[in-house]
C-alpha cells in the first residue's frame, strides 16, 4: 500500500509544542467541558489585541499550579485580566509568592480568592513586602500572613497603607501581632477610622498612654473590625444605627474640612 501522503494538520495540537492556536478543541483537550471551553473561547475572542496567542500556555501555568478546570474558569471569570498575562510573567509572579512564604495550599487558596494578585508585577509585590518589613516592622511570618489573608494590600496605595498602619499603631495603640490577627489590611482606612472614632467619642476606646495604659478596657481590634455594621453598632458600640449613620456623615464632613484646612496650610 502506498504511503498516505502526510497531511500536515496545522490546527492539530502538538503536545508540548510551543505555540498552539486557541480552539475549542485545544481547550477541551486541556480538560474543560464543551460549555466551559465555549465560554473561554468567546471571552478571549472578544479581547482586543493579540493576547490570544499565549492563552493556552497561561492556562497551562494555572493547571500546573494545581487548579482544576472549573477553578481555573472561576478565576478567569473573576479576573479576565489574567488572559493577557504572559505565561512567563505568571510563572515569575507565582514563584515570587512562594518565596514570600505562600506555600502549597495557601498559595492556591489565595490565588483562587484573589486572582488579581497574579496581575501585579513581582517587583511591586516585593516592594510591598519590603515596606511592611521596614516601615511597619512586621516579621517575615507576619508578612506572609498578611499576603495570605489580605492579598489586596499589594494593590493598595503605599501612602494609604502607611497611614493606616500608623493610625492603628499610634492612635489605637495596637501592636503588629494583633493587626495581623484581626486582618486589619482587609479593611478600608475610612472604615477603621470611622469605627474607632465612633467608639472613642462614645468613651469606649482610649489611646493608651506612654506606659501603654488606659483607664477603660478597650474592645479588641478584631471585634471592632470583623463584626458586620449592625453588630458593631449594637454590640460593640452599644448605639443605634441612626446614630451611626449620622456620625458617618458628620465625620466625612470633618475629614473634608480638615483636608481643606491642610491644603490651605500647605499652600501658605
Amino acid at each position: 500500500t502506498s504511503q498516505a501522503p502526510q497531511h500536515p494538520h496545522e490546527t492539530s495540537p502538538v503536545p508540548g509544542g510551543p505555540v498552539r492556536d486557541l480552539s475549542l478543541r485545544s481547550l477541551t483537550d486541556m480538560g474543560f467541558t464543551d460549555c466551559q471551553a465555549g465560554q473561554i473561547f468567546e471571552t478571549v475572542s472578544s479581547l482586543r489585541g493579540g493576547g490570544a496567542k499565549h492563552v493556552l500556555s497561561t492556562l497551562t501555568v494555572l493547571f500546573v499550579l494545581g487548579l482544576n478546570p472549573s477553578s481555573v474558569l472561576k478565576l478567569l471569570v473573576k479576573c479576565p485580566e489574567l488572559y493577557s498575562v504572559k505565561d512567563t510573567q505568571l510563572q515569575q509572579r507565582i514563584s515570587n509568592l512562594r518565596k514570600l512564604g505562600l506555600l502549597e495550599g495557601s498559595l492556591q487558596r489565595t490565588v483562587a480568592h484573589y486572582p488579581k494578585i497574579l496581575t501585579v508585577p513581582a517587583k511591586s509585590v516585593k516592594s510591598v513586602a519590603v515596606f511592611l518589613r521596614e516601615k511597619c516592622l512586621f516579621t517575615t511570618q507576619q508578612i506572609t500572613d498578611i499576603l495570605r489573608d489580605s492579598p489586596a494590600v499589594v494593590l493598595e496605595d503605599q501612602d494609604q497603607l502607611e497611614y493606616k498602619f500608623q493610625y492603628v499603631y499610634f492612635r489605637m495603640g495596637i501592636k503588629q501581632a494583633e493587626m495581623v490577627k484581626s486582618r486589619l489590611f482587609r479593611f478600608h482606612l475610612d472604615e477603621v477610622r470611622c469605627r474607632h472614632s465612633f467608639l472613642e467619642r462614645r468613651g469606649l476606646y482610649q489611646t493608651p498612654d506612654k506606659k501603654g495604659q488606659t483607664s477603660i478596657i478597650n474592645p479588641k481590634l478584631d471585634s471592632i473590625l470583623s463584626a458586620d455594621q449592625d453588630t458593631f453598632v449594637s454590640q460593640v458600640a452599644q448605639a443605634s444605627v441612626e446614630e451611626y449613620n449620622v456620625f458617618r456623615e458628620l465625620l466625612a464632613r470633618e475629614w473634608k474640612e480638615e483636608e481643606l484646612q491642610q491644603g490651605r496650610i500647605e499652600a501658605d
Binding site: 499610634f170 462614645r202 458600640a237 452599644q238 448605639a239 446614630e243 456620625f247
Partner: protein
C-alpha cells in the same frame, strides 16, 4: 506625623474628659455615651424666623426640607397644650406664642443652614441658634403687655425670640459684660426695626445681675435668667455658678410673676442644686415663696424634636443626641407666690 492629623481639633485634656465621664456616667447612666459623642460632634442649629423682616425666607427653608418645630408637631393635636395633666403641678395652660417660629432640619438630617439674607431694609430673615434655646422663651409664656427682664441677655438669641412675640409691654435687656452688650446691640440692629427699639419699649443695661433685686424689685411679670455657665461643648472645666441661688434675682419678679432659669450645662450642680438652693434662700433670707411650675407638657409637645433627660425631679433638660444634636439646655420655671 500623618496620624496626628486624625486627632480631634480641640482635644479636651484626658483628665478633664475622665472627670466628665465619671460625673456624667453617674448622672446619666447609659445615656452618657450618646450624649458624649454628640457633644464631641458638630451641633445642630435652628433658624429663628425674624418676623420683623419683610422676607422671612420660609419658602426657601421649606424647599430645603426644614420645618417649624413649634407649629409642626408630629402626632400631636395642634391645641394639645390646652390639655393639662391631672397630676401636673401646672395650674394654668401655657400659651405658646404663635409668633415664635424656629425651623429645623428633621431628625438625622445633617444639612446646614445657609447664612441669613437681608431684606430690602437690611434686616436679616433668620437668626441661627441652638433650637433648644427657644424652649426657655416659649416656657416663659409672655402675655400681652407684660414687663419682662432678660437678665443675662448677650449675645441676644433669646431676646430676639422674645421680641418675636410682639406682646411685651416693656423689655429690660441686661448683660454684665459691656463688650457682649455691644454685640447684643448689633444683633438687635440687624434684626429689629428702629421703632421697636425705642426707649419707651425697651432698655439695655450692663449691670451685675446678682444685684438686680436691690436696683429694682417687685417689678417684672416675667424674668429670664439664662445664667452663664461653663458650657459642656466648649470647655471641660466645671464650677457651679451661683448667680441665681446667691442673688436676689427672684426679687425682681412681681408677686405672681414667673422666673425662668436656664443654663447650657448638663451638670446637676449647676442646675438642680442651684435652683433648690435658690428656692431655699429666697424663702429664708427674703421671705419670698417660690413654686415650681411643671414643664412636662412642653417636653411632651416637643419630644419629636428634642431628646429630653428622663426623670429630673426639678425642671427639664434637653440632652444632645447625634440625631438631634441640640442642647444641652436645662430649664426650670418658678412662680413667685408673694
Amino acid at each position: 506625623e500623618k496620624w496626628a492629623a486624625t486627632r480631634p481639633k480641640h482635644p479636651p485634656t484626658r483628665v478633664a474628659l475622665q472627670h466628665f465621664d465619671a460625673t456624667y456616667t453617674a448622672q446619666l447612666g447609659q445615656l452618657w455615651p450618646s450624649v458624649r459623642i454628640a457633644l464631641l460632634s458638630e451641633r445642630k442649629y435652628g433658624a429663628l424666623i425674624n418676623n420683623f423682616s419683610q422676607d422671612a425666607g420660609f419658602a426657601d427653608l421649606e424647599a430645603q426640607g426644614c420645618r417649624d418645630f413649634i407649629s409642626f408637631r408630629d402626632g400631636e393635636a395642634g391645641s394639645s397644650f390646652e390639655h393639662i395633666d391631672a397630676n401636673s403641678q401646672q395650674p394654668f395652660p401655657l400659651h405658646l406664642s404663635q409668633n415664635i417660629r424656629c425651623f429645623v432640619f428633621p431628625k438625622g438630617d445633617t444639612t446646614r443652614f445657609k447664612p441669613a439674607k437681608p431684606d430690602q431694609f437690611g434686616l436679616l430673615c433668620y437668626y441661627l441658634m441652638d433650637a433648644a434655646s427657644v424652649l426657655p422663651c416659649l416656657a416663659l409664656d409672655v402675655q400681652e403687655g407684660h414687663t419682662v427682664l432678660d437678665l443675662c441677655a448677650a449675645p441676644g438669641g433669646k431676646t430676639l425670640a422674645l421680641l418675636q412675640t410682639h406682646m411685651i409691654g416693656y423689655l429690660c435687656i441686661n448683660d454684665s459684660s459691656v463688650s457682649r452688650t455691644l454685640r447684643l446691640k448689633k444683633v438687635l440692629q440687624s434684626y429689629v426695626p428702629k421703632q421697636f427699639l425705642a426707649d419707651d419699649r425697651l432698655r439695655i443695661t450692663s449691670f451685675d445681675g446678682t444685684k438686680w433685686g436691690e436696683i429694682e424689685s417687685n417689678t417684672f411679670d416675667r424674668v429670664l435668667v439664662d445664667v452663664p455657665c461653663t458650657t459642656d461643648r466648649h470647655s471641660l472645666m466645671e464650677d457651679d455658678n451661683n448667680i441665681f441661688s446667691k442673688s436676689r434675682t427672684v426679687q425682681a419678679a412681681c408677686p405672681g410673676g414667673e422666673i425662668l432659669y436656664s443654663t447650657c450645662t448638663l451638670s446637676l450642680n449647676q442646675n438642680l442644686n442651684v435652683v433648690e438652693q435658690g428656692i431655699y434662700l429666697a424663702e429664708k433670707n427674703h421671705d419670698i415663696r417660690l413654686q415650681v411650675v411643671s414643664l412636662q407638657h412642653l417636653t411632651k409637645m416637643f419630644r419629636n424634636t428634642f431628646h429630653f433627660a428622663p426623670d429630673l425631679h426639678l425642671g427639664e433638660m434637653v440632652i444632645p443626641h447625634l440625631t438631634a444634636n441640640f442642647g444641652p439646655i436645662y430649664l426650670c420655671k418658678l412662680r413667685r407666690l408673694n
